[in-house]
Symmetry: C2
Subunit: 332 residues, 2 copies
DNA sequence: CTGAAAGCGCTAACAA
DNA sequence: TTGTTAGCGCTTTCAG
């Protein structure tokens, strides 16, 4: 391996000068610089970022713990984050927590061990007692993404409550009174907030929330499919359904299709989360779409600010969703 | 920051002993070990992987350069790779090349600077003259993924030629003679091979490949949509279409829908690449599905082998696709 | 079974 | 404008 020392020797300067031309950290005479550059060119020297990180005390690296890389939603998130970071000269290390605290702990520990300069976490349920305290303890700048947690740190996520309420209201406006709901994974804020939005819409019209109409799809499309299947094949089924995240939507649609029911004539449907290819689904889904791009870039902005030393009060940012009015709700 | 020295002092041993209990690299008396473990516990010590990497000469890190993180196909690939690596004790650093060599060069340079122990690359067009040689020069183990390049190194990708041929044949078997094709990005092997498969099917039946029926969607669904729109709204349009990757499929379907045509009655359709939610599309697509999981894990296997020092002849692995016979082709 | 000591390749005072 | 030097925190011979 060619080191800075080699380059220095060939250029007839000190290692420190080579370092400075490489980093532009102090003025170097044009001639000397050219000699150094020539030597670099000649040897094909590459800086060793590991050594650099150790000496400088920062790695220019940011860790991201995400809960499900296979979910296209998170795919876009990773992309947005990666983009914003690389623009700022950082690289991204990703880990998948599979929405499981133990797994998340492994991921974040490994990230911490690698001396990441900052960390973005989409917390799993239970995160606040196992992994987040440890991150805070090390003093690593942290921003939470997607889901909130009751802890004093920067957070950015989608607007949940009023978006879910708006979806539900839309169904009410169309005359539906028995509206089923399919919730996502229990124990995370987005599930709770969206469900609260659903409840608020109902009670706002003087309709009680009926337990039998509340389904838990956990995080799995399969579970959602089973639950919806059961509900929709029973007596006295609802005339409309609202799904609270994209995985639940898939499960719901499969169940409905499996029963030979059609949307919206047999049952109206609206959902939280949009799909890139929503236009190709049949029926076209009325949905509240998250602005994943903005969520990702905002998270990075907040993080960079902290990494630069800002220690003001934590920000909690909610990115609004967009209502896509298509026809699964029964409107034409 | 608490260092190994601190732990050593508290435990009343040398740093070297602490290192050995941490890594299990030599026998340590039970009592001493316990003292060390107590000190670690007490101080909340975390190993510094950066220092460790510098001293040991390896980072336990693998780089992945991917062409489009937003494409769900690559999302699953990243997931499979991350999983396999983390099982083997490595962490993944991802970079997005946006299917552009210059961008790819930046990504891989940064990965190389960070001393990754190995690298997985989904090469962009032009990779073989700009970025791959540099990787090879540094001696970093490399495996190519998704697309092949004419260079002597490990590669793993989907089967392209005969899968595309089979799709096209299926259309021919149903009596179609004028079959349009929508190609992906020019200059990458998967595009070429799949197109060759299409041609082989036609010429195998004595049908000439007609230029006007060959569309280039580049990498963009928008371009694909425009091209298909033009073709299908012209005179003498084909009776069937084959799309050669998922982005092209989206574009094609949008164009067809936009024209008010229906599949398969107005035009039959088959595609390379499946969608996770293919069942919810209307019509349900007849497709050749890649086994992304296997591609990812195989790539990691090959890489780990190289990283362990194997320097046998390069492997070129083709993972077969699965033919999903649904009804966009016109079969019931 | 354990410790001392020499680096890994680089950065950043401090001097000159 | 440049060089010298002392680390960064760890691994790993080599002795004991």
């Amino acid at each position: 391996m060619i080191t800075m020392g080699d380059v220095a020797r060939i250029a007839g300067v000190s290692a420190s000068t080579v370092s400075h031309v490489l980093n532009g950290t102090r003025k170097v005479d044009t001639v000397t610089r050219q000699r150094v550059e020539a030597a670099i060119e000649e040897t094909g020297y590459r800086r060793n970022v590991v050594a650099r990180s150790l000496a400088a005390g920062r790695t220019h690296t940011v860790g991201l713990s995400i809960s499900a890389l296979t979910n296209p939603y998170f795919g876009s998130l990773v992309h947005a984050v990666e983009q914003a970071l690389s623009d700022a000269g950082y690289v991204l290390i990703v880990g998948d927590s599979h929405d499981h605290v133990e797994s998340e702990k492994r991921v974040t520990d490994s990230l911490l061990d690698r001396q990441v300069d900052g960390m973005i976490v989409a917390p799993a349920a239970g995160s606040e007692r196992l992994t987040l305290p440890e991150i805070t303890r090390t003093g690593t700048p942290l921003v939470l993404i997607d889901r909130g947690v009751d802890i004093g740190c920067d957070q950015v996520g989608p607007e949940n409550f009023s978006s879910a309420r708006a979806l539900t209201k839309h169904l009410l406006d169309r005359g539906h009174r028995r509206i089923g709901v399919v919730r996502g994974l229990a124990g995370i804020s987005s599930t709770t907030e969206r469900f609260d939005g659903y409840c608020a819409a109902l009670t706002g019209r003087g309709i009680a929330v009926e337990d039998t109409l509340v389904l838990d799809g956990e995080s799995s499309t399969d579970v959602a499919e089973r639950e919806v299947h059961a509900l929709m094949s029973g007596e006295n089924r609802p005339t409309a359904l609202v799904s609270l995240n994209n995985a639940m939507t898939i499960g719901t649609l499969k169940a409905v299709r499996g029963l030979g029911l059609s949307i919206p004539s047999d049952v109206a449907f609206v959902c939280y989360d949009d799909f890139e290819w929503a236009d190709l689904f049949e029926p076209r889904l009325t949905a509240a779409a998250q602005d994943v791009e903005t969520i990702g870039t905002t998270a990075v902005e907040l993080l960079l600010r902290r990494m630069r030393g800002d220690d003001g009060a934590p920000h909690q940012i909610r990115v609004p969703t967009t209502f896509h009015h298509r026809n699964s709700c029964g409107c034409t």
